[in-house]
């Protein structure tokens, strides 16, 4: 240990200026990340964003350069390095390097980020979770760079090597994508649902299980460390390069084939739903249409039917997605493929405009303008078969289908007066009103922060805000459905590989924590047009209201799990299909058109 600290101290002294630069850049990056949501002036915001981008670039270059310099200070290749003929224990040297790298590239950012998260009142447990995620990814990246640095004699040679590796990674990404596509195809072919449920409520995308990603990351880290150890002990570059290829391959295999989804968020459905929830068809006739995605694909016939869920208490919404179905005609029987998309199920008596009524009831107003961004109430896909499996002129038969019914709880969690400084916080989610504007298009500038971690095993709730005037019994939804939930501009390549595309938008240099300012506006002259027969409002009338007495209502939307229900229809008459044409490559279905 004495030798380890001796080597480490010498490296710190040698690289004191780059290390200081790195620490300053890191502190600067997190300071800007923490303070930028406070800035309101657009010019300043622009300047800050430019500064942030430049700082991120400088930080990346400094970080990579520093890692390479620290490793190459005691070169692992060539025959001229000083330490090679001195009694430097190779593993002590490696330990000294790793300790320094860990201190600079894991501990320093973790501390900076923990301070930042604390300033935004993120609970300690979530700070720990975010730190774990970010540290794991950063560790994998740092060790990966260290292995690369150890294989090259100089920074320039490392740059060449890194270029070659990047090209290989692109190729590997392509292969992984193919594997993933193949896996998805397999899952669909056996008519079972994938572990992470697909889109449940339109824009609400459930997180994939992070266990495979974490396991792959740990395997990557472990094997990369073994390689590094081999480099320090044997300095057999050719062998290490050959073995290095296996590191990402092994990780990718673990990621693709990992069988234990320990961290999969799988919320249990509420007790009332187990026995009380049922679904039944509406009185409306089914809508049948033909569709064809590609020239080579077989034409499909899809049947949609508005459904009603009963036994659902107030404050709950449900969606349904077809798992499997059988349609038995007099002389034949067809099996359906799984439904491609879930759709809302009406709750209550009628399927017409039930989302508007739901919101009116929840917000205790007579009129709600804007909504939660749900797709139009188009009915649930209950049958999807090859077109030639059903008679051209329609059919009549007995239907039996199994549907996955997902539940969503919507609740008011805060009523904030329209005043600067009002705060709503729940868990790691924090919303602060920084500015209020009450003109023709009222809006609030909010500072939103959220910290998401892969180890929570919960679906993080989504928050939506409404401007409500109780006196006039009107509420307007914001133009941002899910505020501060994710940042689509965050680079996601590495993180989506590890954690899956979902709520988790991680990058090695940022993490699951985000803080940003957002202007949330409420359009008073709000006109929305739905396709005829879609069930939604054709037009919402302009509203001219004085909003000084209004309040900001925060809704929490929580995914409450899913359960399977059987839908049986003794005599389901399928009319002649509507011909559907795909235009512009975008498929939209407007039944009854």
């Amino acid at each position: 240990m004495r030798r380890v600290t001796h080597i480490l101290r010498a490296d710190v002294r040698r690289f004191r200026w780059p290390i200081a630069a790195w620490i300053l850049l890191t502190a600067g990056a997190f300071t800007i990340e923490g303070t930028s949501p406070f800035v309101s002036d657009w010019r300043s915001v622009g300047s800050m964003q430019t500064g942030e981008a430049l700082l991120a670039l400088a930080r990346a270059i400094t970080g990579v350069t520093l890692i390479v310099l620290i490793v190459q200070a005691h070169a692992l290749v060539g025959t001229t390095a000083f330490w090679l003929t001195r009694p430097f224990p190779p593993l002590a040297l490696m330990a000294a390097k790793l300790l320094l790298l860990a201190a600079l590239f894991l501990v320093v950012p973790a501390i900076a980020e923990a301070v930042l998260m604390s300033a935004y009142r993120v609970p300690p447990a979530r700070i720990a979770g975010v730190t774990f995620d970010a540290t794991l990814l950063r560790a994998a990246l740092v060790v990966c760079l260290a292995v690369g640095a150890g294989l090259a004699r100089t920074l320039a040679r490392f740059a060449v090597l890194a270029g070659a590796v990047l090209a290989a990674v692109v190729l590997l990404g392509f292969v992984v994508m193919l594997i993933d596509t193949w896996r998805s195809a397999s899952v669909n072919a056996t008519a079972t649902l994938s572990v992470g449920r697909p889109m449940v409520f339109g824009w609400m995308m459930p997180p994939k299980d992070a266990t495979a990603g974490i396991a792959a990351c740990v395997v990557f880290l472990g094997t990369a460390l073994l390689l590094l150890r081999a480099q320090y002990r044997r300095r057999a570059r050719a062998r290490v390069i050959a073995l290095a290829v296996t590191v990402p391959v092994l990780s990718a295999i673990v990621w693709a084939l990992w069988p234990w989804h320990v961290l999969q968020a799988d919320p249990a459905p509420p007790v009332w739903a187990r026995d009380g929830l049922s679904i039944a068809p509406d009185d409306s006739p089914p809508v049948v249409y033909r569709t064809q995605i590609g020239e080579a694909d077989a034409r499909q016939r899809v049947v949609r039917l508005p459904l009603i869920a009963s036994g659902v208490p107030s404050g709950w919404l449900a969606s349904a997605r077809l798992v499997r179905a059988t349609y038995t005609m007099d002389d034949s029987e067809v099996q359906s493929r799984p439904g491609s998309w879930p759709a809302l199920v009406a709750v209550g008596e009628t399927t017409s405009s039930f989302t508007s009524e739901f919101l009116n009831g929840l917000l205790d107003v007579d009129r709600t303008i804007g909504g939660l961004g749900f797709p139009p109430d188009t009915g649930v896909e209950i049958l999807s078969v090859d077109d030639e499996q059903l008679p051209v002129e329609g059919a009549s038969g007995r239907y039996r289908g199994e549907l996955e019914v997902a539940l969503l709880n919507v609740a008011i969690v805060a009523r904030l007066p329209l005043k600067r400084g009002q705060v709503f916080q729940e868990g790691a989610y924090r919303l602060v009103i920084d500015e209020v504007r009450l003109d023709r298009t009222p809006g609030v500038r909010v500072r939103v922060s959220q910290a998401l971690s892969s180890v929570g095993r919960t679906y993080p709730p989504v928050y939506a805000v409404f401007l409500r005037d109780s006196g006039q019994r009107v509420a307007i939804g914001s133009d941002s459905f899910a505020i501060g939930q994710f940042n689509p501009f965050t680079p996601v390549l590495a993180s989506s590989f590890v954690y899956g595309w979902g709520w988790h938008f991680y990058t090695p240099w940022t993490s699951g924590f985000q803080a940003r300012a957002e202007w949330v506006t409420f359009r008073t002259a709000h006109v929305r047009t739905y396709a005829p027969g879609s069930g939604g409002p054709v037009e919402a009338p302009p509203v001219e209201i004085e909003w000084s007495d209004a309040e900001l209502v925060v809704l929490r939307l929580t995914d409450a799990g899913a359960l399977h229900r059987t839908l049986e229809i003794d005599r389901l008459v399928l009319p002649k299909p509507v011909e559907y044409r795909l235009e512009g490559g975008i498929q939209q279905v407007f039944p009854g058109q």
Binding site: A75, T79, A81, F82, R86, P87
Partner: protein, 302 residues
């Protein structure tokens, strides 16, 4: 006991055979100089001995350990200085010594101070801003201060002025105490080596063509000049007599007698050149090696 032993040691780089079939032994307490022109394979041989390069054939032991397995314990007993070594040149000489000290249990601070004074090594700035001589002095000092049992020097005098060379040699001579120590030095500077070495090896084209004690070598080699009384002097047969022809002009024949230590050496010369005037001249180490390097070698002629 031999501190260094090699058996048919060889190293190939692609199609180039840099070192071929080198077999040598360096007994403890000797100063072995590995000589030869540039590109002869000296540095590659040393790199194999120091486990910097893996041999592709043969084997070597250093301090009784297979050179491929040299580790911390062995390097605590070895001092290695090379002109090609990358010193931590951001350090001052004093910092270099402080950096090395914890790795050597036998570090002798008094010796380090004495050597620092003897080498006139000042700690005025980082090594990268120092002269080549100062860097070599620092490297040597950091390799001697723990009284290594084996000192391996790869071209230590290359490019140094005579004053610095002298200081380095004196520093080397400063080290020994009651313990036996061995020096293995490679160089193409024969004059400096001659002051130090008691055994020399000569490499040419990757082969070790000679390895012998210096006094024996000097006793064995003589330059012979024969003035033949007739018109055409007899041929010098190298293979048969250990004579290396050095050329002739007119009636004068020159050759190197590589076995002049034999009692009948003069008789053989006069028998081959009856009636001729024969002059036998002693050779310096430099003369011997130059003669070896110039002539195509026949094993029996060495």
């Amino acid at each position: 006991m031999n501190v260094i032993e090699t058996q048919a040691l060889g190293r190939r780089f692609g199609r180039v055979e840099a070192v071929r079939d080198v077999t040598l032994a360096v007994p403890a307490g000797t100063v072995f100089a590995l000589l030869g022109p540039n590109g002869a394979g000296k540095t590659t041989t040393i790199k194999m001995l120091m486990n910097l390069v893996a041999p592709t054939s043969g084997s070597a032991t250093v301090l009784g350990v297979d050179s491929r397995r040299l580790g911390v314990a062995e390097f605590q007993r070895i001092g290695y200085v090379s002109e090609n070594q990358d010193l931590p040149d951001w350090m001052t000489p004093s910092e270099l010594l402080a950096y090395c000290r914890p790795f050597y249990p036998s570090w002798d601070e008094a010796l380090a101070s004495r050597l620092q004074a003897a080498l006139a090594l000042r700690s005025s700035g980082p090594l990268r801003s120092q002269s080549r001589g100062t860097r070599m002095k620092a490297a040597l000092l950091s390799s001697l201060a723990y009284r290594p049992e084996l000192i391996v020097l790869d071209e230590p005098f290359s490019g140094l002025d005579p004053v610095v060379r002298d200081e380095l040699v004196r520093a080397l001579l400063e080290v020994p105490d009651e313990r036996p120590w061995t020096v293995f030095v490679s160089s193409h500077d024969v004059d400096e080596v001659e002051r130090l070495a008691d055994t020399v090896g000569f490499m040419l084209d990757g082969r070790l063509v000679l390895a012998e004690r210096v006094d024996a070598l000097l006793a064995r080699y003589r330059l012979v000049e024969v003035v033949w009384p007739g018109d055409v002097p007899p041929r010098v047969d190298a293979a048969a007599d250990g004579w290396q022809p050095q050329g002739s002009s007119g009636r004068t024949v020159r050759f190197v007698d590589t076995r002049h230590e034999r009692p009948d050496a003069m008789e053989r010369i006069t028998a081959h050149f009856p009636g001729a005037s024969v002059q036998v001249l002693p050779m310096t180490l430099r003369d011997i090696l130059v003669s070896l390097a110039k002539r195509p070698l026949h094993p029996e002629a060495v």
